[in-house]
Point group: C2
Chain length 348, copies 2
Amino acid sequence: MRIEMPKKSKKLTDIAEIGEFGLIELLTKEFISKNDSTQLSVGDDAAVIDFNKKNTLISTDMLVEGVHFDLSYFPLKHLGYKAITSSISDICAMNGICSQVTVSVAISNRFKIESLKDLYSGIKVACENYNVDLVGGDTTSSNKGLIISVTALGVPSESGFVKRSGAKTNDLIVVSGTLGGAYLGLQVLEREKQVFLVNPSNKPDLTAYKNIIQKQLRPEARNDIIEFFQESKIKPTSMIDISDGLSSEIIHLCKSSNKGCKIYEDKIPISHDSLQACEEFNLEPTTIALSGGEDYQLLFTVAQENLDQIQNNLNLSVIGHITSSKEMILLEKSGRNIMIESLGWKSF
Amino acid sequence: MRIEMPKKSKKLTDIAEIGEFGLIELLTKEFISKNDSTQLSVGDDAAVIDFNKKNTLISTDMLVEGVHFDLSYFPLKHLGYKAITSSISDICAMNGICSQVTVSVAISNRFKIESLKDLYSGIKVACENYNVDLVGGDTTSSNKGLIISVTALGVPSESGFVKRSGAKTNDLIVVSGTLGGAYLGLQVLEREKQVFLVNPSNKPDLTAYKNIIQKQLRPEARNDIIEFFQESKIKPTSMIDISDGLSSEIIHLCKSSNKGCKIYEDKIPISHDSLQACEEFNLEPTTIALSGGEDYQLLFTVAQENLDQIQNNLNLSVIGHITSSKEMILLEKSGRNIMIESLGWKSF
């Protein structure tokens, strides 16, 4: 895998040449709504959605250049994809399936229409992969950089929506997929950026890091887990998506539920690729899983009676259980108990 | 009326001191949901709304400092108010009433918590005035300036939603309120900014411009007109809100409906204050009404049979009618016909 440098097109087009309405038309004309619930899409003052008696789930996120992404190694197409999947992930975390998004972008005049088309091509692939309709948005200029705001709409599964606050004592704590990969992918990309700045002719071979780079640049939302719940008739008692790192999200679940937890370090799922990268970067794998962020995996609690079904799903790992005390404890491999809150994390 | 300069507080608080979650808690704790449809508000991965069989209307807008507003004369409280009312206006334009909003803000580190509290106090007043619940959002840092993204949700009136595309030949073209005031208010504020830059000790008396400044700084959404439609059992055939100026919106309605129109210059409603300001600034009132923007009035078409009811509402002015040709014509006071499209407007 090689990082592709942006290609120099022969002629780039200033947005002023086609105007705001021309731009919206250009960017959205290839988006075709596929959900029956989408009654009216882009092109009027508001979109119209028919959720037919079901509750509406709504979540919104803002991504800012230089804060959430660095375009020197984040291709715009991937950024569009990630903006959508990270928003879909919030709907998953409510035990829901996302069906519509709106996307607003503010862009400085250094961006040409071709760049926006790249961004929207990634948005389109994500919408297609997740059967989501783009139903509205706003396009404006900014004084500096690129800002993307995505609002996701969806409906809960038949069993109903799941909050952060329903965890019960002795519930199993479960996580989907593996953790830490997205953070480690970012470390590789940051390192290559520094190399590039020193020696722009260097062409890095990143094949060995393909999986973790993909976790960073092209994360997926776990619709499959929501569908598994539905098929297995499992309703989690509480759920959250892991955007800031496992420890931050565990704290949210426990505090919202007014409970504590015991997490077993040796149960935290970390991929082989991530372990290798940790060794190379001299990082502690558990710390990365706990604080890395951007994995967009689901963290949830279920009743003990669901243990067999959970264990039969290879995408899920039971990492601990809920306790009646308010203490949130990590049992280290060494046998030592430590308080999760003392690990510290900060996202602002 | 005097423009208040920002007060220097004794101690301003860096956002890093309380962190993102502390900030969200601080900004949203005084918002109390009042709509039965709001099942779950701020504090989880998504909000949950029960629209109970009704369609969901959704619209989104992004406001960027230096592009959409200038904080040297735009108080943050007013900005918060305007961000909400301009979004509610989009829901009105669908013949709907807004019931929920999400608000995302990106802010550079020049903003302290006190500034954000001002912004949210204006958001809160607007939510209270319009019976709208703040149900979610995102707070993040930016490299430069303030960016606000608002998504508005609502439901259509009993008669159903109204698109831009339903205008029929001979339908009356109607506008609410008066036009041009917001643009003229902006001219006054821009002029005073220039005076202030030359002579900071100058204290302008802006009493004479109070009404037009208010149109700029504190625009209202026309929920009252939607309620009037409902009470009068009127359903417009097409509708749009006037954010970019009358000519731009007339063109949208006609093109979406595949029709033309005839507008009478002498019927375009312009307030006495706006006429005075036009004289002072040596501007042509009709041009300002056609191209000024930000008035957030409603432009709609109705069947001729509704004429009496429309004329009995002092907030509404019949300004012309829809024609079967595709020509969009303004009949000037002089008796000359001119093509509206040739007037030109540009919003990017």
